[in-house]
Symmetry: C2
Subunit: 343 residues, 2 copies
């Protein structure tokens, strides 16, 4: 059931992003253009699309569904994508990841000091970008509220990341803790992307109720998206995902299936689980053993049920907006492609 | 000529900062409270004032000089201080500094991953803080413009930091390059602090001209402040500064006196200079030798002349506002204390 994300507004979003990053004549922007996949490390233009542009697409499709003007709100869509990318630049340093999308990460090429600073510059540019809404005819009040929504999403993101790093050294993290963490780390920005599109696309009098529905839609979708990622990170087909089976286990990630299995395991199985997960490096045999322990308690099935539950909730929120089905179809399509993907 | 910064609005600023950091129930905020000197590492309240609160004080004094309401614009003053502190948390990681104000830095206690993320959280909180201006009765237009001024200052800061890190490995950095770098890295945020105070304190019709004067005042003051710092970092009295003579030379910093001396030195002196500055660690004898090379070309005198030139320019900008002298007196006092300080 391989399904690709629809290519909606790819060009418009990319053009807006390129303008945002390049209009400031700052030396640091070459690091940002490299990260975005528009240049190679020596500064030569070389278009390598690295991201799916999922968040800005959701933002624009939510705007379209509520009858708004896509062109007018492009800065909001671009700002969300810039925030996402600022967090990726910093995540790669925090996780010590030398590669992303088969390319060297910013810190790997320019060092950690320059990479931290490059992420900060991307963060600043995102905040300047959202202010352009006013120039596009969005009211001052709505522009201010959009800025607030974006900054709250950033704070959620940091809080989620704080939890995620804290969890690495702990074995008492529950499924509940994990869902709380990914609500902040992953779902908050997706929720803000769709909420922003709806908020900016809707007339003032009914805006709040519809914005709330779109926020919840994005949040549930974000949870389903992350949990689908967790499943593919363990049982995914290497031909589709580009990662070997058990990739996340090899990295000792504590994703939902792992935490569920830890909760369900006891006695000797639990002890073995903790013992293997405490080692510095896991070999193939140990990865297979952990996957075996997960399968024993049907952790994959449990996670897939959660994916379906959150997807269902997401679609219910879309319906609750009261917007006619035909207008919601493109959003439903992208949502389906995310939660059913095998890659 | 030891002169301390006047204690203006210390309590109001601190209260606003504490509210800003603590109102978000985020796990990461304990790292921020520690950094600000309000808690020890175990989360126990323990008030240790670590910062001078220079930027928010300048912001409020500029507001006062233009006849504005201090209480109303406290969020702008606090936001500037939060931005300054976000940059300190990240700078300490980038410079690998284990201590600040005789306390362990955030990364030293919680690790670099958590510290990068804590800085990002502080950055987000600063952006949420400035939006509170609206709640305090500042117009939507002015609140939006204040947000833009803050974000532009952040981008300048990142650009200055990018240059600063790039300069570490280079010997062809000129005095001109250096002044350009500190204009962005140090002066832009001081300039924005004073400009914000004036902009928010002034009536709309004459706001732009006065705001520009206050921006230039803060910018020149920032340059004078940084160059005074450069002098004290080499020739300062340890009893006053808390740092041994030649402290910045030991760290092989390329501050103004060093770059001036490099430009003025040639032949064997220049060769020796570069050779010493290329070593991994400098011993006391080498530090003394470099200070000797600086003294040979009167680098300290040159830097002090620059301090006086920029101070003079700063005061001229204050005068150009056309505001009566009595109202500018507190700002002049703080400016004098900064550029004449021996600590």
């Amino acid at each position: 059931m391989l399904s690709k994300i629809p290519v909606s507004y790819q060009e418009e979003i990319t053009a807006e992003l390129q303008k945002a990053v390049s209009e400031h004549d700052v030396g640091v922007s070459s690091l940002l253009r490299y990260h975005m996949g528009w240049e190679d490390a020596s500064g030569q233009p070389k278009f390598e699309t690295t991201g799916k542009l999922l968040r800005p697409k959701l933002c624009l499709l939510a705007c379209q569904a509520t009858g708004g003007n896509i062109q007018q709100i492009l800065p909001a869509a671009a700002a969300v994508e810039l925030i996402h990318n600022f967090s990726l630049i910093h995540d790669d340093i925090e996780d010590d990841s030398p590669e992303r999308h088969h390319r060297a990460t910013v810190w790997k090429l320019w060092g950690k000091a320059q990479a931290i600073n490059a992420g900060d510059a991307m963060f600043s540019i995102a905040h300047l970008e959202v202010l352009k809404l006013r120039r596009n005819g969005i009211s001052e009040r709505k522009t201010l509220n959009a800025t607030g929504m974006l900054s709250r999403a950033c704070l959620n993101l940091c809080e989620g990341q704080h939890m995620d790093i804290s969890y690495e050294a702990r074995f008492d993290v529950t499924v509940h803790d994990y869902l709380n963490m990914i609500t902040k780390k992953t779902a908050a920005l997706l929720a803000t992307a769709t909420a922003l599109g709806a908020y900016l696309g809707t007339a003032d009098d009914e805006g709040d109720r519809i914005t709330d529905c779109f926020y919840s839609f994005g949040e549930y979708l974000g949870l389903a998206f992350q949990l689908r990622d967790d499943i593919l990170g363990i049982w995914g087909d290497e031909k589709q995902t580009g990662k070997p089976v058990g990739a996340d286990i090899k990295k000792k990630k504590k994703t939902l299936p792992v935490l569920y299995a830890l909760e369900k395991s006891s006695g000797i199985n639990r002890k073995e689980f903790e013992e293997i997960y405490s080692r510095r490096l896991l070999d193939g045999k140990e990865v297979t053993r952990i996957v075996g322990l997960l399968d024993k308690v049907n952790a994959g099935k449990y996670a897939q049920e959660k994916v379906e539950y959150y997807s269902h909730q997401a679609f219910a929120q879309l319906e609750a907006t009261g917007i006619e089905a035909a207008k919601l179809a493109p959003l439903e399509e992208i949502a389906h492609s995310l939660v059913q993907r095998d890659y």
